[in-house]
Every structure is written in C-alpha cells, then in structure tokens.
C-alpha cells in the first residue's frame, strides 16, 4: 500500500522543494517506487531542482483536466529507475486544482503500485497547501531554527490536525515529523541560533532529520542534481539519515556540532 507524505512548512524558502527532491531520491535509491508531485500551481520549481525541466510535456493540472493520461505526464528520472516526477502547472488559475481531481490522481498512483507519493507543498496556507496535505498519511514539516519559520510550522501543525482527511475521519490523524534545515552548529553554540532541542520543545514533535547549512545545497540546485547525490556533503548524509528514519530505522542525529577546529584556530578565531 502506498504511503502519501506531504512536505510542508507554512513559510516559504525554508527548503521544502530541496527536501522533497532529496527525500524522493533517497527513497528511490533504496529501491522504493516513488513519485514526487509539485503542488505549487503557477510556480513550478521541483522540475528544476530535479533537473528534468526540459522534459516537462504535461503537468498535474493537465492530468486532472483530462488533457492527457497520468502515464504521459509522469517524468521518469534519468538517474533512478523507480523515481517519477509530476510537474506543477504554470497556469495562473488557482482553481485548476480540485479535491476530486487530486484524489483521482492519487488513487491512480496507488493502484499503479507506487510505494511512496511525496507531495511538495507550496508555501502559505492557501488551496495548494491545503490539497497537498489533505490526503496525506504522514507529514514532514520543514523548519528553520528561526522565529517566523517555527511559528508558521506550528500553524501548519494545527491545520494537519484539523483540515486533513485523516483528521476528519478521526483515525489517528496524520503522523508528523520535523525536519530542520539550514542548521548552523557554530551559531547554535554561540547562542545566536535556537538548537534542535529548543525547536523540538516548542513544537513538541520528533525530529526526523537535521540538515546543516551548506553551500552544497545551492550548488545542487544550480546543477539540477538533488543534494543527496553529493556523496562528499554533510547535507547529503543528513538527508540520507532522514530517509532511513522515515523507513523506520533509528539513527542518532549527526552534524549537530561544528567540526573540531585546531588549537590555534580556536585561540585566534577564524
């Protein structure tokens, strides 16, 4: 049975699409059949991060409106056999996405035998964000250790607990996880940035991953190769750990402390 996972946050620019792309690749790399769907209607971007922007022919709204079949719109990843992307439409018509249409597409993907359906939510709490979370079994709430992001995440947690099918049916609700991105251990140590424990305590959720702030993330999006493929990067290792935890492994969190510096570097700074 497929599991539907929404990647959401409320606030924009915290790393939802980066996370969706890397988690999708991580799951597919472990042999799972994965489809990742861009719900940001009007502002398509997942295709760029995945590096398949020139192969988009049909999109999510085309499938909903019956302009093409689902199979025609699924873009097969060039790196991983079992990974597919469903691009967002660039229409300005926000009503193009309907609850029935989304359900129809999800049902077809489930019937097709996918193991994981990742829904990359747009920022905000409008229709696209609502529909991205509505049918979810689990939610990965992406948060930066920063006041507005944490507050918006709590708002999203409130919506997950009330405005989703699982919440309405009362069967246990959506299972929620936190994923911290742009974590800077040096600034945490100096008291300039909230720690994982601070964020965990405020939001009261388990943490499925902590991705350190890293120049590799921008380099990855520049290249259209999700950062999880960069074997030399701590961000990649952190995402791979998060994928393992999603699959039920229990691993300790890594990269919470800054790499040890030499004696002289510590004395003289630098």
């Amino acid at each position: 049975m497929a599991e539907i996972i929404v990647v959401t946050s409320g606030k924009g620019g915290v790393g939802k699409t980066t996370t969706s792309a890397s988690v999708a690749c991580g799951l597919a790399r472990r042999g799972k059949r994965v489809v990742v769907i861009d719900f940001d209607i009007g502002l398509r971007n997942l295709d760029l991060i995945m590096g398949c922007e020139r192969r988009v022919v049909y999109d999510f709204v085309n499938v909903i409106q019956g302009d093409c079949t689902l199979r025609q719109a699924l873009i097969k990843d060039k790196r991983l056999e079992t990974l597919h992307v469903l691009a967002a439409s660039q229409t300005r018509d926000k009503d193009a996405l309907t609850a029935e249409g989304v359900k129809r597409v999800l049902d077809e993907l489930i019937a097709d035998g996918f193991d994981y359906i990742l829904c990359d939510s747009p920022a905000g709490i409008e229709k696209g964000a609502h529909l991205a979370m509505y049918y979810a079994d689990r939610a990965v709430v992406v948060v930066n250790p920063e006041v507005s992001s944490v507050r918006d995440s709590d708002r999203i947690l409130g919506l997950l607990a009330s405005k989703t099918q699982r919440a309405e049916q009362g069967n246990g609700g959506v299972k929620e996880h936190l994923l911290l991105t742009r974590y800077n251990p040096r600034r945490v140590a100096s008291g300039e940035m909230m720690s994982v424990d601070d964020v965990k305590e405020i939001l009261g959720l388990d943490v499925i991953g902590v991705v350190p702030e890293s120049p590799d993330v921008l380099a990855a999006s520049n290249a259209g190769v999700p950062v999880i493929f960069n074997d030399d990067s701590d961000a990649s290792r952190a995402y791979d750990d998060a994928v393992a935890r999603l699959l039920g492994e229990s691993l300790p969190l890594r990269f919470l402390e800054e790499p040890k510096r030499g004696f002289f570097a510590r004395i003289f700074g630098g």
């Binding site: 006041v147 507050r151 945490v188 940035m193 909230m194 405020i202």
Partner: protein, 85 residues
C-alpha cells in the same frame, strides 16, 4: 569570546527567541479549535472594559475550556493597582 560569554549577563538571542516563541505558540494553540468569533469577542470585551478601567490588553485573559461536559468561557481581568488607576 569563549571566556567572555561566561560572564555575559544578557541572555543569548536564541534564548530570547525561544521564550518569545513559547509564549506566542501557547497563545495561538489555545485559540485553535475555538470558535472563530473568539478573537473579535476578546477585542470588543477589551473595549468595554477599557471604557471603565484603564487596563493593559495583556491583563485580559479569555479562555474557552471544558468543565464536566459544559463549555466554559472564562474571562479574567487583572485590574491595575488602585493608586495607579
């Protein structure tokens, strides 16, 4: 900087952030699930109270709770000290 930090009196900006978030998140959570009119009710009650007593908006607490199966709207106003009023 390492040694200096030990003697620093002012709290770190991270702990200020945490404290502010703890308060606002608790407040927003308590309003969640309540009726939509609660914020407006709170504002209007505050205006009425303000006509008679000069209270700080922070001194008015409105909570919706459950008590033996009944919904209870609890209003608590901390009045200012007499000599200041």
């Amino acid at each position: 900087m390492g040694l200096l930090a030990l003697f620093r009196r002012t709290p770190s900006s991270a702990s200020v952030a945490k404290e502010r978030l703890r308060i606002i998140v608790a407040q927003e959570r308590s309003a969640r699930g309540g009726p939509d009119y609660l914020p407006l009710l709170r504002r209007e009650l505050l205006q009425v109270i303000h006509k008679y007593v000069n209270v700080d908006p922070e001194a008015v607490q409105i909570n919706l709770g459950q008590d033996e199966g009944h919904e209870v709207l609890e209003l608590s106003v901390a009045l200012p000290e007499k000599n200041r009023a």
